[in-house]
């Protein structure tokens, strides 16, 4: 039990079932997250990172479905579990927080009730006990005056406070895995720092693993121990986060790093023209043959246009999906 990873994804394919066609929105995605580990999934909109997370928590709905692959939670295949057991996992052992807490919270229910519900549903508490636990949960995410705040509705709270409520709900039952999908994208940097630290500290205290999903490679590299970069439905690189900014191996990862002005770089290097990644992110129906990054890649050769590269193990540790990897 202790050796096996907390969650393991193998060869995941997610199909987008249109009336006319079936296309794979996500393909060949494999990764594992150990107990208490922080793992980041980085990519642009449409790369498949969010639906991968939804697949883990069993929330994929038509027109999306798992086409192939296995997801194991503590060694058990999630897809094969009866619906009732899947529900028992969801929210209890695997919890999720979303980008926009305003749309994820119920607008017509006080936030305390939404937290308390977790204890009623998963821990068999009665509402009186659950309400008391909700106050404690709000206090643990450092919401001031929690005994008054439990009566507030989501619209009465600021964006940062709402995200704290989301974290309180997610961590209420002491899950083993917290999936955080762009948890701070809608927030200001100072509030982002607060929320990230809160999440990081609470999860470290409780031994909760984090799967963090973001378009912000810098943030993920700062928070997570390992990072996987997704492009057009595939993982193109997986590295220890300490390495990814210093020595990444995939041209797309390098492009992401080079294309963003980083604080301090102008002072150090002067204002240089940012290196652009040419072209646009392809739509799911138009994923190119071969390496999916090849039309935008400066290093692409004939083989890149015809043959999809496999993930290869790097000497320095990590995985890369590129014919010409550094």
């Amino acid at each position: 039990m202790t050796d096996s990873p907390l969650i393991e994804v193998e060869g995941l394919r997610i199909d987008l079932n249109d009336r006319a066609s079936h296309v794979a929105a996500v393909e060949g995605v494999s990764f594992r997250i150990d107990r208490g580990e922080t793992f980041g999934l980085v990519g642009e909109s449409g790369c498949g990172k969010s639906i991968t997370a939804l697949a883990l928590i069993g929330l994929l709905r038509q027109p999306l479905s798992i086409g192939a692959g296995v997801i194991r939670f503590e060694g058990r295949e999630i897809q094969r579990l009866p619906a009732a057991e899947q529900r028992a996992l969801r929210g209890n052992r695997i919890a999720m927080i979303f980008q926009e807490p305003m749309t994820a919270l119920n607008p017509v229910s006080p936030v305390g009730q939404q937290i308390a519900e977790m204890f009623v549903l998963h821990k068999g508490k009665n509402w009186r006990e659950a309400n008391q636990l909700a106050v404690e949960a709000l206090a643990s995410v450092r919401v001031p005056a929690p005994e008054r705040r439990v009566k507030d509705y989501p619209h009465q709270l600021s964006g940062g406070m709402r995200q704290r409520v989301m974290i309180a709900i997610a961590l209420a039952c002491g899950p083993d895995l917290l999936i955080a999908d762009e948890p701070t994208t809608a927030l200001d940097v100072t509030v982002q720092a607060e929320i990230i630290e809160l999440m990081r500290n609470l999860c470290a205290e409780r031994g909760t693993a984090i799967l963090m999903i973001s378009h912000d490679l810098g943030l993920v590299a700062n928070v997570c121990r390992r990072v996987a970069v997704m492009y057009a439905g595939r993982i193109v690189e997986e590295r220890g986060s300490a390495d990814i900014f210093r020595a990444c191996s995939h041209p797309y990862t390098q492009g992401l790093i080079d294309s963003l002005p980083r604080l301090g770089s102008r002072a150090a290097l002067g204002r240089t023209r940012l290196r652009e990644i040419a072209g646009v992110v392809p739509a799911i129906a138009d994923f190119p043959d071969g390496c999916r990054f090849n039309p935008r890649c400066a290093q692409a050769t004939e083989i890149c246009r015809t043959t999809a590269p496999e993930l290869t193990l790097l000497d320095a540790g990590g995985l890369v999906r590129c014919h010409h990897h550094a």
Binding site: E197, P261, G264, R273
Partner: protein, 355 residues
Amino acid sequence: MRAGWSGAITMHEPAARPGDDVILRVEDLAVHFPVGGGLLGGGRRLLRAVDGIDLELKRGECLGLVGESGCGKSTVALSILGLQKPTRGRIVLDGQVVTDRQSVDRKALARIVQIVFQDPYASLNPRQTVRRTLEAPLRLHGVTAKSEIDGRIAAMLRHVGLRPEQAGRYPHEFSGGQRQRIGIARALILNPRIIICDEPVSALDVSIRAQIINLLLELKETLGLSYIMISHDLGVVEHMSDRVAVMYLGRIVETGDWREIFERPAHPYTRTLIAAIPDPLRRAPLATTPGELPNPLNPPDGCAFSPRCLYAEAVCHREPGPSLETRPDGHSVRCWRADEIAGQTALASTESGHP
């Protein structure tokens, strides 16, 4: 047809008044919104969205305007565009006072200052082709000859990296980055001198942002534009700006040369903003600041930042922030303890800074 119009909008006038290199001056601008209140005005309160700010934009300069959401930066932008009537203060655009309601000519204003919006999905009319979007301002400003309209639209599309034959398409036929190019073309079609960029890349895919940032910087050079760059992304602001102004709760708390602001931030709030940015090169706790931006309807006593400030002392909680004090190098700070803090930093900077 009024004489001189098409001339004025087809080419840039040379910097008319030599020596006067300030193209935009904002003086003591305040925008207050009355909130609530009953029939007799009882219980009405004032929301001071912008509360007495001064700004200067020089020709060819990019001024970064940063601060958390709700600090008033977009209200400043709307006032400069003439879309929000200030409660107090003056805005002088290219030598012309535009806050004086009697003399202001909305059309003339539109030929001087334009805006690029954050979200190119929401800010383009989905039922208009690119040509119609770009043609409307030209017609409104007296350009009616089809050949001239076509010529200017084609030239503008090339400027922003699109092809003239794409003019017949609708916004949904373009990617996000291309749509933002259309938004930029729309802002530039009347040849304005000043562009307000309100978070121009934050709605775009990460791999597309560099294209738009490079384009904006190129256009600034080739067309001799001045920018006000509003963004919460300090990396983008540092990259693009010549000078930076930091806003907090309706006031400017620090302005200065970009290098001064980012390398020697003097106001505790500026330091907070910079420290909150995650360092991608190491996994380390982020510097956090207690609390959130206060409710502008109920601002704290003393300096507005004092409840969150690590350096706050009795005076900071008691007295409103001091007036913006400008040092000889042009760096201005609104903080009671700026000098002491600068002294402490000088000592600490021998250890380490932000990489």
